[in-house]
């Protein structure tokens, strides 16, 4: 019991310390360059929390990050580095908009269901390619997903220009495919917060249910911990590789649908892969793979993302500095090994003092 309690505590401490160190590092850097970190952080936080509109925008950003974070986390649990979240999000976005534009007159509930469903399938297929290649041919999923990112990007731009429209931007989807919720929009003074938030909360719960309460979820975790032992125990490694990649891509595709239908309501040619895909990796790592943790880290990143925009004009700190703070947090999340080492050392000192139990 003691160990689980302690490990839970340190699991909570590590992300908190990472964020703290990130902020401190950012503050030191700002001091070094002659900027005032208090002003900067104040502008960032006040900018978001003083206005219902920007709270709504931060939550909207957090919503999509939750999906990409969960998507990355499940593959990571199974032992894979799905760096293709951005591309899977993009194909999900394309699929959702394509379906929504094709059947604009269907009733809202049906249209939303099939649009979002199509996005999940598209994302799952995109990640499934990498999963299948990995399962049957042992190809590195990192390389395949990176390549599929670019394939997704150029395919998207091709589809926009040659299939959906002739310009760079598709039409807006009809009201029936909109994710906006009247009272939420009014409450946040017209922000683009949408029902994706509720879908995200449901998905967080389902993710937890799947991972902790089902056999399939147990197998995914077991394969991630030790593929050889799980194979020996009679679990199919191939099946679990593909399954976890399918769910991973499906979640990213779902995020794409929420982003496409909720944030924009259309699709436009992209000059690069959506940053939400890559930030999802940071969110998942900060949340240490725990769905509730991921939900809260995406809110933190949502606030950072939206709040960063206030730093240049309200505190005179260039936005590059805001990017550095975000990067520093991501760095400390990545380097949590160091934090863990220090914590473990402190812990073992304590146990030594107690003389064993």
């Amino acid at each position: 019991m003691l160990t689980t309690k302690q490990s839970r505590l340190s699991a909570l401490l590590i992300p908190i310390l990472s964020v703290l160190l990130g902020f401190i590092f950012g503050a030191l850097l700002m001091l070094l360059f002659g900027y005032n970190p208090i002003d900067a952080y104040q502008a960032m936080l006040m900018g978001v929390f003083n206005s219902p509109y920007f709270i709504g925008e931060a939550i909207r950003q957090a919503t999509v990050l939750t999906f990409t974070g969960l998507g990355f986390a499940i593959a990571f649990k199974a032992g894979f580095f799905n760096i293709g979240i951005a591309g899977q999000l993009l194909v999900g976005w394309v699929a959702a908009i394509w379906v929504a534009l094709s059947f604009p007159d269907l009733p809202r509930i049906i249209l939303l269901t099939i649009s979002i469903g199509a996005a999940i399938v598209a994302g799952a297929v995109w990640a499934g390619i990498a999963g299948t290649l990995r399962a049957y041919f042992g190809t590195s999923e990192v390389i395949v997903t990176i390549m599929l990112n670019y394939t997704a990007l150029h395919l998207t731009n091709y589809i926009i220009r040659s299939v959906l429209t002739t310009g760079n931007t598709t039409d807006m989807v009809s009201e029936n495919a909109s994710l906006s919720v009247g009272w939420l929009t009014t409450l946040t003074q017209g922000s683009r917060i949408n029902m994706g938030l509720f879908i995200a909360i449901i998905v967080v719960f389902l993710y937890w249910l799947f991972m902790t309460q089902t056999t399939a979820g147990f197998e995914v975790r077991a394969v991630g911990l030790n593929p050889d032992a799980s194979t020996y125990a009679g679990m199919s490694a191939k099946r679990n590789i593909i399954l976890s990649m399918l769910i991973s891509g499906g979640l990213a595709g779902l995020g794409g649908a929420i982003h496409g239908l909720g944030t924009f309501g259309n699709l436009f040619t992209q000059s690069g892969l959506p940053s939400l895909g890559f930030n999802g990796i940071a969110v998942a790592l900060l949340g240490l793979g725990n769905p509730v943790g991921i939900f809260f880290s995406s809110i933190l990143f949502g606030v950072l993302d939206v709040g960063a925009g206030f730093m240049p004009n309200r505190a005179g700190v260039p936005d590059e500095m805001a990017d550095i703070v975000i990067a520093a947090i991501i760095f400390f999340v990545g380097a949590n090994y160091v934090i863990r080492l220090v914590l473990d050392k402190m812990k073992s000192n304590k146990t030594a003092e107690k003389g064993g139990e």
Binding site: L20, F268, G272, G309, G316
Partner: protein, 360 residues
């Protein structure tokens, strides 16, 4: 579990502020004082209490291209009118397309009189906030909005590209030139169409190799495409691809420095890119097409102050208004005289430069 996390997240933010406060005492008084002098700015005759903001596209304000050009114009205008950055003029940088609308709303909350969206990527966002705020004035560069409270500033890029085409066709030794576009679409198509027309006008035996990078910021792709074009015998490349062009310059510089026998040239875009062309043995920027976004923004602002906001209008800037231009750069005297000739013909209408090959 979740309660603990929520509380600790709150604790994180507050303690980070506190820690920052501890270490930041000495720097705080210098930068936190509000240097607003707007109310005392009435001393000079030029002064105005008009304020202008711009929202960049994903390229950012330091893209060495048209965001930067727009900002330099606004900055100059602000200084000329004794305004302070942050109250009289400001920019809002977008790192991602989802930042566009929040940035407009931020500028709205800060109370600017006209808010410009720089680049066609912002059209939808401008229209959206323009609909939500019918009494606020907006501007869009490089595209046309049909809203009454938006002024549209467009550029006849094809005219400048036409002159670049003339210069390239008359300068090339190999009979082959290249065009590298950013993202395929109406705006860049204008550059391509104009350039091809210019080449054909000067010498229709010269071949034009056209390729698109599908990016405005990946210099690596620019270098790759440029390497391919130079290897296939092109000796001049015109790029209309923002920061992708930096890779084109890099490739040309590398080739000139390792084997300077065959002269290679790059034609810059939007700003005078002469300094990008500096290499050990000289300069390889043949010329640059200019797009005076800054002037256009300032001009429409001045018009708004003097005569009222030109809402709903589209103002097209071409060679005749100095909105687009071709710089002299390293163009030889002979070639420059044909460029001058072509410029005259375009301005007085003898040559109608085609604008689109793009099928709508």
């Amino acid at each position: 579990m979740s309660k603990i996390k929520l509380r600790s997240l709150l604790a994180i933010s507050s303690s980070a502020l506190l820690l920052a406060a501890c270490s930041g005492e000495d720097a705080s008084d210098s930068s936190s004082e509000d240097t607003s002098t707007e109310d005392t700015g009435g001393e000079t005759s030029e002064s105005t209490d008009f304020s202008v903001a711009m929202v960049t596209d994903e390229g950012g304000v330091d893209d060495r291209s048209f965001n930067q050009s727009a900002w330099e114009g606004i900055e100059q205008w602000g200084k000329d009118n004794n305004l302070d950055e942050g109250t009289g003029y400001a920019y809002y940088q977008s790192d991602d397309s989802s930042d566009f609308v929040p940035n407009f709303n931020q500028a709205l909350a800060d109370g600017y009189d006209i808010i410009y969206g720089i680049g066609y990527l912002l059209l939808d966002s401008v229209n959206q906030v323009a609909d939500q705020n019918p009494d606020q004035h907006f501007g869009i560069v490089d595209d046309i909005s049909d809203r009454d409270n938006v002024v549209s500033l467009t550029f006849k890029d094809h005219q400048a590209a036409f002159l670049a085409g003339v210069a390239a066709a008359e300068t090339t030794e190999t009979g082959k030139v290249g065009f590298i576009g950013g993202i395929k679409g109406q705006v860049i198509d204008r550059f391509q169409t104009g350039f091809e027309a210019g080449v054909a006008h000067a010498d229709d035996s010269v071949e034009v190799d056209v390729q698109y990078a599908e990016s405005f910021n990946d210099a690596g792709i620019g270098q790759q495409i440029a390497a391919g074009m130079f290897s296939n015998g092109a000796d001049i490349i015109y790029h209309a691809a923002g920061a992708v062009g930096n890779g084109v310059f890099t490739e040309a510089r590398n080739r000139m420095e390792s084997n300077g026998d065959d002269q290679l040239w790059v034609i810059g875009v939007d700003r005078d890119q002469e300094e990008e062309g500096n290499y050990d043995g000289g300069n390889l920027t043949l010329t640059s097409t200019l797009k005076e976004v800054g002037n256009a923004v300032v001009e429409s602002t001045t018009q708004a102050i003097d005569e009222g906001f030109p809402g709903g209008e589209t103002i097209a800037y071409g060679l005749e208004k100095g909105g687009v231009e071709l710089v002299r750069g390293n163009i030889s005297d002979d070639v420059w005289s044909s460029v001058e000739e072509a410029r005259e013909s375009v301005i007085n209408g003898d040559i109608e430069v085609p604008e689109f090959t793009y099928s709508e």
